[in-house]
Symmetry: C2
Subunit: 456 residues, 2 copies
């Protein structure tokens, strides 16, 4: 029989990996709660009518579609079969698909439950999503997203608080970060001022690459895309802003003075910087007018976070959108959200060796098994330790001592208790410290005290 395996791009998580992943999820969840965000969950399966057309053509192709139950072929005609129009046939074979992100299901949730929801609605959601992407290093077909969004208000206080959340999460995780902040309205203003209001997308896609290809590269790309020398000339001052965030914003305000939307963008960003000024942040906040972010639905602030000490791309992103729920027929519901990339954060913590050591162990004591009689006598003592919150294992079999000790060793269990029939009669226990290699003899009372005083 072949060794069993799992689908490409999916993963099993070992106990150690789970502890580390839970550490990340719990940190993010705790901070979300601290700011009043409420957790929801949506089903893994959504109707394809909910998902299709929301992620562009490529997204539609990358959706995992689930074969209908029962006679899934009943709607497929001979003509369909002959024509081999795959999307058309897929549509007949399948009406459900796996969640592709948390944003569209959230928009669906808001519209579907709008009569039960109290707005402004602050929700967070930590769940896996699935994409039929080509698997490659660091890119998976099943991965978690950790989103927080607030809808039903256009208050910039939300942007400020989401940045404070990001700061708090990375401060707790011990990752030094730089947050790149921009506003889509500023990008629209720049496009207006340089005279290409209708080519906002092409312009920003090129500017967004500044990081990778440098300023000269951006110029070249713009020329290749047919932007005039005149336009590129007018763009120069926007690409050469200097000084602190405040100074660069001020200079930008002057350059954008003739654009109403541009001024609005500058004003919004200024308010955010003002709100953050009174806070002690460990995250560096950088006004980055070249930041564009791919997603088409953003209309206001946009942000991206990078780890300062690990080159891995963006580890968190987000922005404001004015019309997300309108795809499901509900207008006028402005919102703003962020999403932590748990897998990349995991890789950063691993590279920085920054996982707390407590995430390496769970069981605190192993009881050596000397036989059925001894175990029956040990059980009440073990239960007392557990009642005090100490995680205890009894080795299930009376195996050779060496085997039992090596079990404790390979699971990184820090303490081992040995008590044979003779010792149990006397009420004494040998406690071995696995890291130190030392051991001492304790009474039951001393034993309990040792762990309760240590752990609480």
């Amino acid at each position: 029989m072949n060794k069993p395996s799992i689908p490409k791009g999916t993963r099993d998580f070992s106990s150690l990996e789970m502890q580390r992943r839970n550490y990340i999820f719990n940190t993010i969840g705790d901070v979300y709660r601290l700011y009043g965000y409420k957790q929801i969950e949506t089903p893994a399966l959504e109707l394809l009518s909910t998902l299709m057309g929301k992620y562009g053509e490529e997204g539609d192709r990358l959706l995992f579609k689930v074969l209908n139950s029962g006679d899934f072929l009943s709607d497929v005609t001979q003509q369909d079969f002959d024509e081999k129009n795959l999307p058309h046939i897929a549509n007949k074979l399948s009406e459900k698909g796996l969640r592709y992100d948390l944003t569209v299901p959230f928009a669906r949730f808001v519209v579907q439950h709008r009569n039960e929801i109290t707005f402004p609605f602050k929700r967070f959601q930590i769940q896996p999503v699935w994409r039929a992407d080509r698997p490659q290093k660091g890119r998976y077909r099943e991965f978690y997203q950790c989103d927080a969004d607030v809808v039903g208000t256009d208050s910039l206080l939300c942007e400020i608080e989401l940045i404070l959340i990001i700061n708090e999460v990375f401060s707790r995780l011990g990752i030094a970060t730089r947050l790149h902040l921009n506003n889509r309205k500023i990008l629209a203003g720049i496009a207006e001022v340089v005279g290409v209001p209708d080519q906002l997308t092409e312009l920003t896609i090129a500017m967004d690459k500044c990081d990778k290809i440098g300023l000269d590269g951006v110029m070249e790309e713009l020329r290749a895309k047919g932007f005039s020398d005149d336009t590129i000339q007018r763009l120069q001052p926007f690409l050469h802003l200097e000084g602190e965030n405040g100074e660069r914003l001020e200079a930008l305000a002057t350059l954008l003075a003739s654009s109403e939307i541009g001024c609005k963008g500058v004003e919004e960003l200024s308010f955010i910087f003002e709100g953050l000024a009174s806070q002690h942040l460990t995250t560096e906040i950088l006004f980055d007018p070249s930041l564009a972010r791919g997603l088409g639905y953003y209309t206001g602030a946009i942000l991206e976070v990078k780890a300062k000490d690990v080159a891995i791309g963006s580890i968190t992103g987000g922005g404001r959108y004015d019309n997300l729920t309108s795809i499901f027929g509900l207008d006028g519901m402005s919102g703003v959200g962020i999403s932590f990339g748990a897998d990349r954060i995991y890789d950063v913590l691993l590279q920085l060796d920054a996982f707390p050591t407590t995430t390496n162990t769970s069981t605190q004591v192993l009881i050596i098994n000397f036989g059925k009689e001894e175990v029956q006598q040990m059980l009440p003592i073990v239960q007392k330790l557990r009642a005090d919150g100490i995680s205890v294992e009894i080795y299930p079999d009376a195996a050779k001592l060496k085997k039992q000790m090596s079990y404790a060793d390979s699971l990184a269990i820090p303490y081992v208790i040995l008590a044979g029939s003779e010792e149990l009669k006397q009420g004494i226990f040998t406690l071995k410290d696995m890291a130190e290699g030392s051991q001492e003899t304790l009474s039951q009372e001393q034993l309990t005290h040792f762990f309760t005083s240590k752990e609480h």
Copy 2:
């Protein structure tokens, strides 16, 4: 545009439902960890070669199959299309499926990672599973299972500890329970002694219904299935055991004296009862020789738990299996496991009104928004409260007071802080207790003290 919806049999979970679900999951996970079980996770998608044939014919039919990416039709011939052999065509359209339970993926995990695992391997797993069942009240197409298993040992200490885990979980949840305990070997012994060793399955299926159709019903069903009067006569003493668990086991031992496997079953159960005797259990343990459990892979102890005060069927089940991993080619790996039914436990807690009230609220204080200036001044104070672990929300807009208060009200936020510009100048804050309707005026220091002394 139509109101969006979700697939039949799936659910959205609101914030309140999530808090309640997390309360159940966390309770179960905490107890598993206390007993040294380690958490793992497996992917939602498994290869169909892993899943097919493991759950019987009905299970194969109820698997959600995922359409292959790319040209999913390429292997389907005109002959296939003409013949409409659905399982055959499904096999060509799809190579992945959604996890149907946690047991088969666990067996696959053990075999796949056997060289990295330290045995005995105690793992727990809390994840959703998917079944294309006909949706009905209390039965969903996506639901969570909460499993713990240990493989690589046949020690009965594992059975004892799993029962202690069940006792501890329901004791923490405040649900009065009765645990029905039996052993497949006893059932095999009974079949031997009454003369139908080859009809074990039919015999136990009938006996298992004793609960629902009564003793007479069982007799009738056995007769209908062609069991002889002689056999039914010989079965009588097994159905009329009386007294305490120990007395009934003793009587059974006599009845089964001629069956080697039957005696082994009695011996195993006796050891378990002995081990539990020294423990203070809130769960009632009942030796129930009519308990059979459907799953074919059990070979030793079997158990089922029922809530005493709510009629809802089994809320936890489990048992020992000697050959689970042999479906993936790894023999000699005895194991035993249990599974908590989270959805039914949820319903029981709801009916008993036994969810702790703290699961009804998350945010502890709402700050009334009197305008941008005031918010900028409040922000440092809010951050101080959050640094102390107090979950605080600032209402994002300077809306009418009534609207802001009704927000606090509908989210069950217990306290509201009001501070207009005049009060901020004086450094005083009005704190309103939403439940009492009372309010008091506090300094910043008093405010911080109020919450930190209250919550910690």
